[in-house]
Symmetry: C2
Subunit: 225 residues, 2 copies
């Protein structure tokens, strides 16, 4: 499903150059639940953004469903991404002027769903996240963990076949975090959604069927057989 | 040191009113290390913002060092805050157009330190956080955990006597997180800094000398004798 060959990501040049990724080779099969661990600054989010077609590698090849997306144009990249991938950002990336409902409905705008159904599905998924009483709040009127749950709802609303979650429970208390992990596990087990999750939480990492460790822009360990 | 009497915080009115805090009574002594736990949306950050003089209560009294700050004017509140309190925000609140060093030096601007010493102390505390190689990066050129460490450095640079940290390790891997907790513990044990920390991390909560649990805007449990 996902094939990365010798992927590099370089920021800047000269003395301030940062090799955020320096040669990553990775194969991910459909339906896997893979956890990504590693120290702060090691390149996990950079790797996630490339897998999620939100950023292009500086070098290397990326095949998604056998399509070479490495050098694709922005529009083509965006349409592949919107159809197949749900992305939960580490910093949420919510639109500040939209309500929780407005934010959650955005992926449905791209897939041509009509206004009535957008609102219905938006409220439904917010209810699933325990946020029905907050649907009208803007991000600055929500707690950190509530923002995180809006970001998760937005990623799942379009029923993507691949979900990329960058530390989805960092701002959640243990119980809310466990509910979210249960939800992700069910998506993976029952609906076959491929799940790729950056986490610092050992409990989440233990739930995954595969773990990779990133350090200094390289994969240093991989529990795949 | 800190005395909260029947503190309330109300957002909005009518059917959409949110009672973020509904009657909080709390006494904190100098030199305590108190952890604040509770579900997402329960009012922890709202409580922290009031203790940190960043927000005013809707009702109730707040005495800081025997000074009634409940109804103080913005300027007086800001000068008390800058002198006594270091605040680590849950969402970091870094200035996007400033480098890591620029962000860390800001509290020193308010306390009249000259440019050369500001830069020296800024680089020193960034080095302590393991960020010397990133001092010139802006927030959008830093990882999530690197941003979090810049926010911690900014809170500590002015050697405040009270440090309020709202989930300071949510974006850090286990090892970096443990180093930060060790740093906070040393500040509390060796320098007598009063430490008030919101956390979802049981390891941090265990290190604290006192734990309070917030639920639906009230303190439901307090381990203080
Ligand atoms: N400006 C606002 N207007 C309306 N409601 C608000 C506003 N700010 C916060 N709230 C609500 O007040 C409640 C408490 O928010 P707070 O940020 O204190 O929670 P928290 O305990 O810090 O949660 P978390 O652990 O998720 O960070 C939340 O339910 C939130 O939706
Ligand atoms: N735009 C940029 N310009 C320069 N350097 C960057 C840029 N974006 C990220 N970096 C650097 O690349 C490295 C990898 O960043 P990345 O966000 O992938 O780390 P991470 O593993 O997700 O860390 P964390 O666990 O703290 O979120 C970091 O050291 C960061 O400073
Ligand atoms: Mg990251
Ligand atoms: Mg909070």
């Amino acid at each position: 499903l996902i094939l990365l060959e010798d992927i590099k990501k370089i920021y800047g040049s000269g003395p301030t150059q940062v090799n955020a990724l320096s040669g990553v080779n990775l194969k991910i099969r459909e339906g896997e639940f893979m956890a990504i661990l590693g120290p702060s600054g090691s390149g996990k989010s950079t790797l996630m953004n490339i897998i999620g077609c939100l950023d292009r590698p500086s070098e290397g090849r990326y095949l998604l469903d056998n399509i070479d997306v490495s050098g694709m144009k922005d529009d083509d990249l965006a349409s592949i991404r919107n159809k197949k991938i749900g992305f939960v950002f580490q910093m949420f990336n919510l639109l500040p002027k939209q309500s929780a409902l407005g934010n959650v409905m955005i992926p449905l705008l791209y897939s041509g769903v009509d206004a009535r159904e957008r609102k219905e599905r938006g409220l439904q998924i917010l209810r699933k996240m325990g946020l029905e009483g907050r649907w009208h709040h803007r991000p600055n009127e929500l707690s950190g963990g509530e923002c995180q749950r809006v970001a998760i709802a937005r990623a799942l609303i379009n029923r993507p076949s691949i979900v990329l979650a960058d530390e989805p429970t960092g701002n959640l208390d243990t119980r809310t975090g466990e509910e979210i992990i249960l939800l992700f596990k069910r998506l993976n087990k029952d609906e076959g959604v491929t799940l790729i999750m950056v986490t610092h939480n050992p409990e989440i990492a233990n739930e995954a069927s595969r773990r990779i460790y990133v350090k200094d822009g390289k994969i240093v360990e991989d529990t795949a057989p």
